[in-house]
Symmetry: D3
Subunit: 242 residues, 6 copies
């Protein structure tokens, strides 16, 4: 279980991960996350209002939006704004990012405030949705720390880190952090999102072309746990630096 | 682990399942699936053409669409046709149904043909997406059998049954086949889709309000396996009857 | 004028009419209407608010929505929700249903309340819009009776029954209650909506491929009156049973 | 039955009708129709192609589009182009105009050609849909005559004139050609479309606020016949002049 | 620099300009502007409310909308309402008309009132956007004068006339007021909008197929100044007459 | 005319300009342009097909698309993809970029090929449309050079550089290259696009709140010429480096 991949990684290696905080100047929290060639700008925007269903509950909210630049990919994709609607894949991804990051927030402590996490993929090489969650957490934490530092929050509503990684079975071998060519040839593709207690926030496994056994499921979850532990450290370093 | 639920079921009991085949007359395959109060009309429509990306490949395709009647639920929902677009939840569900049912078809054997599975929820009480998959498979199998009987297919392209069930942790107890009130108060909610080799086609587990441990994940998968085995028998009986 | 039709009916016979009340559990009023193979789920949903133009007038309102399941017909139709807009035919029909059913309500007695009638065709064989009106009235009456029984209304705002039927000239012969194959070959196609004083609520006659004389108009109206009288009896029976 | 109306008309009088042919220069047929203060620009545009369902059938087609300038009415209406969709009323009207004018064309003689009738209301005072049909026929006839004169058609495909008028019961009195204030207070409102054999192309009678008897229906049809006969003469004069 | 053009004009001649005020009856201000074959109905509609961003500022607002009848042009254009959205050209033009006419209004003196200028091209032969501005000003001035006459405004908020003209280099020669065939073959096309102090409100010059020198720019601005001076006189005459 | 601005620039100074070529890996041409805090990713994508109106003409085409990340600005803007349509400002800008860059291409030499220039603003501080044109030219030139190097084009279809800059009158003083705070308080705002023969491709001057004289127009054009000359050098250096 330690064969070498095209990019010299072992099957349980992450790609190089970089977190460039303060990548843009206007947002309360901003980071460029790079996982190999995958690059996503994540920003956290704070607004002092909440959706109608939360008015007068004392609770806050978080939503996420996800998009790709048209030429983030090998072939150019049409802009969703030109097509006049969001595609199903985009909706699915931004709902996933939103659910995952809500899991690390105590909405009562946040108070009647909304946070929007924008994840814009400027270059794609597999794993853009998991990179968006991992980077989105960093943007969120920076924005929250700023609210605390500015005295707008007495106490941080952050409960735990949240990070995500993709794992998959490629050519019969379970692998961590698939790049695009691996993902495209994977028999099983799974996205795992965890918090720092090493509990699951979300698990999504798909066999698309094939199916997978309980054994394979367990091997993949083991790999994901290893990768996510490493991501937590990289997140924490970046947040401290910011 | 065998406490009684509101409707007298044990934690590992399915609700009453009914499959009324031939529910409508026009579709090649048609079934009304009832799981307790949840009722979904599933039809399979066969078309002798394929999307452009499959032209001249000799391969077929399957897509699914999902909708709820506005008053399938306790409160009336606005029609997506009136709002002018599909919501994110609908897109997510119909993509899931499509992926799940494509896993049971040998597209080469199907030939250049498209099958559309329409799942229309006429009454909702939790588990509509899993009922759609379980019922959708039955509509699909009936349509496929008709193509074979009519001599349009020499050999059935069906590889295996596919069925789905929801499981969740409610009040700390893992439970099978959640009805709406259980689903709404669940800490963890998981949809499991399997084939008749008891392999996973898709696993989607969400903690939304909370998170879940590896142990809980395993308990839920055990429950799901039990329920899905029972669903395969009910599916096969209905298909034979049709 | 009493030749036999394909389905053994005489030219002035209705098809078999069934009204299955309480077809779904959530709506205040619910019925499945079957006219031969045409089957429509009609529900009445009550909301304790009114559109802006009626606020503080003490008056209520009623609107209707109409849709067909994609495979209600011989060939599958694309969903309007996927196309992102309602077609002209749908809009025309739901405006007709709404106008027709508003004619049987005293809006002052209803008070500041809105009723939505949803008509969802699950199987189509001609006459879906008239079946929607006839069934819609039953769902409405059940919902109104419930409001009275629950003490929310002192007095019923129902003024009169309303029912509808299609008539047409097929092969030179005026006929009542056209099924799809008759409708498709009709020279004249007329929809007649009446109240129980046998007055017209709406008359819509179309010659599309041809034209029609005053004599033909009168023959068709005679047939419609006969059919609608019968429908009133069937409606009243169903409402009492409910 | 000959009481005077606000504008000195008797109950069976048309308003002043003017048909200004050649109102715009680009269209194959063009007319401004004025019925009192109601003014509609009608143009007929000929295209040498047909919708897909008519390809290789040797038959032609006609469709109509209808619109109002935003300030054609007392209060300004929002443009449908800005709202991003056609309203139900617009769709209903343009489908009616299309059906009505198709009834006067022999599609086989027209050959594989499409005609679009555009009806743009520049000032509205009731009866805009019937004025559109009456004016639309004139634009159509001019365009057809041009095709014949240019040698593109050997024989005119026009079967008959088509004209339309509104009639209604106002304050208990049946009246011809309602202007806006009459229409707004009418108990019954009927649009009648006839051909020059004095047969009906379409009859649409609505009671909206109230209902109407067979006797009233007959009185209204008598009035409509009288008005439409007069319109045929005015149409023919204008077409000859053109 | 005084060669004759196809329509006998010299290079610095305007086409025949007509301003028919009171063209429609409902709008507060209404005019038909004709510049040669180009004909645009311009109306000004006054509303006693403002967009949210101006509430409680004491200031008013003006917006413009622009549209062409489908057969205003040589070939029929699809309606934007049918296509479900405004095209880029339409948006660009209506934003230009709005900006230009806002430049002649003192918004504080207008008070919390909105004016909508609707420009509907019924026949197009080049220069429709500049004709819309020139005619739009006249409709606006009539509406403003009416507000003053009705005592709703103490003082006119009009600061200055605004008029617009197109100029271009055709076959190497700078020309004033291009008609369609000239515009289509122009190397440079410029729209100039000025106020009555002969200052620029907006200058838009485009080389599309080619480019232009500073000298050409200056020649074109000279021509535009001459034309706009003449338009101011024609505007003032029409407004006095109204 | 050499007062200092907030950022120490003189009135005729450009901001710091950086062109980072090869910023993303997939596009044929890619550059990040920074003008002070304004940052735009420009990519050029080549496709071996043309829009229908150019098929079999031997000519190519270029279009541009423009977008801003939601948090490129001080306050977060809603995504146009979520709103379901492009705003008027976006359409206006992308049409301008397209026209400007088409002016530097010989479409016959390009052959039946399409180039799409995507301009995505990741951080905005005024002048995003002119930065998009200046950067878009660089992405285009790199992509063209690649087509030549790859032997797909015998000869470069590039005729000339194209660059753009904004100029404006702020506090009575003409200034070059406005940043956002300057732009927001400018009396006149002009965008100037030129080619390397120092001819105008497009000139757009707007007085919005006020108007401007011929003298001011000339001063602004002088400033623009100076800035654009400097941009041509910076462009050429970057293209050589690439």
């Amino acid at each position: 279980m330690s064969i070498l991949r095209g990019d010299k990684r072992k099957n349980n290696d992450l790609r190089d991960v970089k977190l460039i905080t303060g990548f843009t100047i206007h947002a309360e929290g901003s980071v460029l996350i790079e996982m190999g060639h995958t690059k996503v700008i994540c920003t956290a925007s704070v607004s002092e209002s909440v959706p109608r269903f939360l008015k007068k509950t004392g609770k806050g909210w978080l939503t996420a939006e996800y998009s790709m630049l048209p030429r983030a990919t090998e072939d150019r994709n049409r802009r969703e704004a030109s097509m006049g609607k969001l595609g199903g894949r985009t909706m699915e991804i931004q709902r996933l990012i939103g659910r995952s990051l809500r899991a690390c927030l105590d909405m009562g402590k946040l108070g009647e405030r909304s946070i929007t996490i924008d994840c814009d993929v400027i270059q794609a090489d597999g794993g853009t949705r998991t990179a968006s969650i991992t980077g989105g957490y960093v943007a969120l934490a920076i924005a929250i720390n700023k609210l605390v530092a500015d005295g707008k929050l007495e106490e941080s509503p952050l409960i735990s880190n949240v990070a995500a990684i993709s794992v998959g079975v490629v050519g019969g071998v379970p692998m961590l952090d698939l790049k695009y060519t691996e993902d495209a040839s994977a028999d099983v593709d799974m996205n795992v999102i965890m918090n720092s207690k090493m509990e699951f926030v979300e698990v999504q496994g798909t066999g698309e072309e094939t199916t997978f056994t309980r054994k394979e499921l367990n091997d993949l979850l083991d790999l994901a746990e290893k990768g996510i532990k490493e991501l937590f450290e990289i997140q924490n370093e970046a947040i401290e630096r910011a």
